[in-house]
């Protein structure tokens, strides 16, 4: 059944910008922190990057409820997998493929309605660092260098295309990610408020302090003037 106009806005919080990029020794993921319901800003400090395994994180865009359910399931399944496999984490490739199969089953309608989400899974595994994009139909963008999702992704991708370099340091990648999200929030009304940045290296998953992000944003603004 087709949804009536406006209904989606009430039921599902949408509108987001997320980016993920691969750098020399890790992965950087960044998101804005705005959650919207139609034209209403439902949250100014929404969390859109989730740690799902030892060295894996996931960014979410689309319906918050749908995405959070996926986060809960993935976290539980990956923990179970580690227990069953002598502490060995599932590879990111396997993780993305599993999720894609799962989403495709729902998309086809055999289990129910589809999950309205765009997801990036990224991190470090035995093969190195990688990011994968997974969409609601179960489409996978395997082992990409940079991905952006959400309503602000077009603007963010413009920044990524012009600033992304192969083998950047994590610090450089954090800068590019902040720039991409910041620019997207300037042109997409559904994205905005703060910026969350997470980096994943062999050493672990680290959230970049808010103070540092704000400092860099101010510096970019000055540079551009």
């Amino acid at each position: 059944m087709k949804k009536e106009e406006g209904e989606e806005g009430i039921l599902e919080a949408k509108g987001t910008t997320t980016v993920a990029l691969v750098c020399k020794d890790g992965v950087v993921m960044a998101t804005d922190t705005r959650a919207t319901m139609g034209h209403f800003i439902a949250s100014r400090e929404a969390k859109k990057v989730y740690v799902i395994d030892k060295l894996k994180a996931m960014t979410i865009a689309g319906s918050v409820g749908d995405a959070q359910k996926i986060v809960r399931i993935m976290t539980a399944v990956l923990k179970k997998h580690r227990m069953e496999n002598d502490g060995e984490s599932m590879s990111i490739h396997a993780c993305a493929t599993m999720l894609a199969n799962w989403l495709n089953n729902y998309h086809k309608g055999s289990y129910g309605n589809y999950f309205s989400v765009q997801i990036i899974i990224g991190g470090v595994d035995s093969k190195g660092t990688s990011i994968y994009g997974v969409d609601a139909a179960g489409g996978v963008m395997p082992d990409s260098k940079m991905i952006s999702t959400g309503s602000g992704s077009l603007t963010a991708l413009g920044v990524l295309e012009s600033h992304f370099k192969e083998n950047m340091t994590t610090e450089e990648a954090v800068d590019v990610a902040i720039k991409a999200i910041h620019t997207a929030t300037k042109r997409d009304s559904a994205s905005g408020n703060g910026i969350n940045v997470v980096k994943i290296t062999e050493k672990g998953i680290f959230e970049i302090p808010n103070s540092y992000v704000e400092k860099r944003v101010n510096e970019f603004v000055k540079e551009m003037k």
Partner: protein
């Protein structure tokens, strides 16, 4: 067996002594079958299987005892071959399911657990018969290390450096254990395995047909008849020499 225990060997129930008699009978059925051996080296696992053909007119190649499950896993089966085939089909299903779900090969330790679970389930539910088979599961894990497991009819399993099943496995197991050396090269291990397998056979059985499979990180292959003949010739000569000396 006392009259008291007699009732308990009909279904899969504990006897008053705490035994699952059907499981023991299944293990006995495996022992009566032809021997299989698995040997792990630093970078490979080698599986050996004896094939006792029931008729001189039967075609030896039609009896298969070493089965490839995926690029990274191979299983040798001892016991009732019809039961083994059913388990092999299941193992291949697990491997295929893993590829479809994760786009990756199934891990050899994971597959061993799955096989153990399936074999265990046949010791607990009614309406099923216990598998009269033991499996030697050999493979290369995600860290490119060779691994060797053995699952018995009860569904329990252990990892081994070298292991045997079937062939009245007492004798084979004894020789294997007392003569096994760590860090053999693949070629040495092939010789060693054949030595154990042929040496523990009765003189008149030494013509039995043997199947040998080798799995390494670059894949699985079975020794062809020319290679095998050469190895067996060498082994038989060696055994003759040793016997002569004594």
């Amino acid at each position: 067996m006392s009259e008291k225990t007699l009732h308990y060997d009909k279904g899969i129930e504990f006897s008053p002594e705490g035994d699952l008699l059907q499981v023991q009978y299944a293990k006995e059925a495996v022992k009566r079958g032809a021997a299989v051996i698995g040997i792990r080296t630093e970078n490979s696992v080698i599986l050996f299987a004896l094939k006792n053909m029931s008729s001189a007119l039967a075609v030896p190649d039609s009896l298969e005892k070493i089965f490839q499950i995926d690029d990274n896993i191979v299983i040798a089966a001892a016991g009732l071959m019809a039961d083994s085939r059913n388990l092999i089909d299941y193992a291949r299903e697990i491997a295929a399911y893993n590829r479809a779900t994760f786009d990756e090969e199934v891990d050899v330790a994971k597959l061993t657990k799955e096989m153990g679970s399936r074999m265990q389930s046949h010791t607990q539910y009614s309406g099923v018969r216990i598998f009269g088979a033991s499996l030697l599961i050999a493979g290369i894990d995600k860290k490119k290390q060779p691994r060797l497991f053995a699952v018995d009819p009860s569904g329990s399993f252990l990892e081994y450096m070298a292991v045997s099943a079937g062939g009245g496995s007492g004798r084979v197991a004894d020789v294997l254990e007392s003569n096994f050396k760590k860090n053999m090269l693949t070629e040495e291990a092939v010789m060693f395995g054949l030595d154990v397998l042929i040496g523990t056979q009765k003189q008149e059985d030494r013509t039995s047909i043997i199947e040998v499979g080798i799995i390494t990180s670059s894949g699985f292959r079975k020794l062809n008849s020319t290679e095998l003949e050469e190895y067996i010739k060498k082994t038989v000569e060696k055994i003759k020499e040793e016997v002569g000396e004594k």
